[in-house]
């Protein structure tokens, strides 16, 4: 880790915080990506759907533009296609069952001092670290 990379990463984090702050102040929404995606897809509530879809369009469109402008920001995938398919399923099921991911629990929940989010983050960080460490050792 260099000071330069730590500062860049800190700035990136601050932008994520700013984006989540806009979602809260403007729309009264928690900017958790798994929940935003799930509720946008099944549309079981309400007036919030257009706002969620607009947020997701901004997110994905920036990915499309970013892939052209800064392709290096994406790096290589670390797993084969079969492992990615399984991992995707686990991430989808796990974040829906646990009601949140790195953004909803990790950023928004911890910032609010939510006990559930502190527990969720401790658990998913622990299992992610164990999984990645075993994976790295194999």
């Amino acid at each position: 880790m260099t000071t330069e990379s730590a500062l860049r990463v800190l700035l990136g984090g601050a932008l994520i915080g700013l984006a989540a702050a806009i979602a809260l102040i403007a729309h009264g929404r928690i900017a958790g990506i798994s929940g935003t995606l799930g509720r946008a897809l099944d549309g079981d509530d309400d007036d919030g759907r257009p706002v969620r879809l607009a947020f997701l369009v901004g997110l994905v469109a920036t990915g499309v533009i970013g892939a052209q402008l800064v392709p290096g920001a994406f790096g290589a995938n670390v797993a084969g296609i079969a492992q990615l398919a399984i991992a995707g399923l686990l991430v989808g099921v796990g974040t829906t069952l646990g009601n949140g991911c790195t953004s909803g629990h990790g950023v928004c929940g911890i910032s609010r001092g939510s006990r559930r989010s502190f527990v969720a983050v401790a658990v998913f960080m622990a299992t992610a670290m164990v999984t990645a460490t075993i994976r790295g050792a194999l």
Binding site: A21, G28, R29, G75, G88, L89, G92, S103, T131, A132
Partner: protein, 135 residues
Amino acid sequence: MKLVLAAIAGALFAIGLLISDMTSPGRIVAFLDVGTAWDPTLMFVMAGAIGVYAPVAWIARKRPRPLFARAFHWPEATTIDLPLLGGAMIFGVGWGLSGFCPGPALVAAGTGRIDTLVFVATMIAGIVALRLVRR
């Protein structure tokens, strides 16, 4: 205005993920793999995000309503239950295997790489399937 602001928030979120290397699965795995060459830099993503969001959330708590909606949608659950614990465990395993959590995966889908799109597709399938079951 309301929708434009939401799209801007989504774009800022993605830019934040891009410049903090969150869209690079190799960097995520280097952070999660504490075995050989642990790279703790990604701690700063959370520090930066919480540093900005926490004071805003604190102020929002005291306000009656957001700018463009009738009310704040604060999460209501407070109990530490089995779905929370089990879900977090399952999510962690998927994250550790792939280096992708939902936000970065959606941004990385912009590359159009087939294996990344497969991850996003099964992630969405998992989300939709569980939401249908839970209904």
